[in-house]
Symmetry: C2
Subunit: 199 residues, 2 copies
């Protein structure tokens, strides 16, 4: 005799939740049952938020940060300092820097870092658009805010070479970042110090 | 000058994910960004699974387990042993018992346990429907499989008194369950022993 199992829609929900980062089989089951049983749960609202975010959120064509039809929160802000351009690996690196309060300029998200082992070459990063922006923003200070790990260093060196001789300054975040650490997980103080000590 | 933040649809998604059990502010942000950035993420499918589960899954009118229009997976199974009725607190307690393989009868989910401090009285539990089922399933063995904590013990004693003199046997899971533990978190071996040693 077969053992009873959840009805199929419950199993399907658990299966979908399992794909999320940091959610294992037991957490997925717990979350699914909580959603179905708890009066405070609002699965329709969560489903709506998911669909709306997937539909409305795009990458900004200029900087690569999250954007909507209302425009990119950074690029569309006329009060940002247009003499500084902070180059980061991922769109997710922007908010930790914003929260540190150490920077008020523009951003450029590369979409990754050079990594020959993972087949990530310069062609895979948004380097062409970066060069065009540097030409437009004449005399801009390009701050290389990529991670302090091996691939980040390689990416920074590659970009510094590429920008050498162009009409721009090039600085690199000070090595206040913990060695080998991701930018995404750095705390605000570490980020502030890294901005202050850039060379 | 205001610091840049995520576009509103991203913040709304993070806010909804934060409500889930075991998901804190940082995990919610990580999950939301993963959903928006990862090629493997399928937010539409997750949204669909949420809506479908919320729409199609109901509580079985007989036993209280999860059910759909196709019927309750336990009650609609003609091969189950109808001489045993296992009374549990929550619908979520059924699957751990099924997975232990120690029991092949029917279930009855009370929807909670007696707890005067939380204002849970017998009127809040599915006790009337239990008495009707016991009458229908003449001579059934009612196995009280509520937790081994204070409220579980109180609920078991209350039900044992209530069923005394009715045409049914009443047993209680052996105290192989760890004292104070939830049924939901017991492992299969512990559950098997508790079923074997019932008194």
């Amino acid at each position: 005799m077969a053992r009873a199992d959840y009805p199929e829609p419950v199993s399907a929900l658990i299966e979908e939740l399992r794909h999320l980062p940091g959610v294992g089989p037991r957490s997925a089951e717990r979350i699914a049952l909580w959603i179905l049983q708890n009066a405070k749960a609002n699965p329709g609202k969560l489903a709506g938020a998911l669909e709306r975010a997937a539909r409305e959120v795009t990458a900004c064509g200029t900087c690569g940060f999250f954007s909507t039809a209302a425009g990119c929160p950074v690029c569309s802000d006329g009060k940002r300092d247009r003499t500084q351009l902070c180059v980061v690996e991922q769109a997710t690196d922007v908010l930790p820097i914003e929260r540190s309060g150490a920077f008020r300029g523009l951003y450029h998200c590369l979409g990754g870092k050079l990594s020959p082992l993972d087949n990530v070459t310069p062609d895979d990063l948004r380097i062409g658009p970066l060069l065009r922006r540097v030409e437009e923003l004449k005399g801009v200070e390009v701050i290389l805010a990529v991670g302090a790990d091996v691939e980040g260093e390689a990416t920074a060196h590659y970009l510094a070479e590429l920008l050498h001789g162009k009409e721009c300054g090039v600085t690199r975040l000070a090595q206040g970042l913990p060695a080998g650490g991701d930018l995404e997980h750095a705390d605000a103080l570490t980020l502030s110090r890294a901005f202050e000590g850039r060379r």
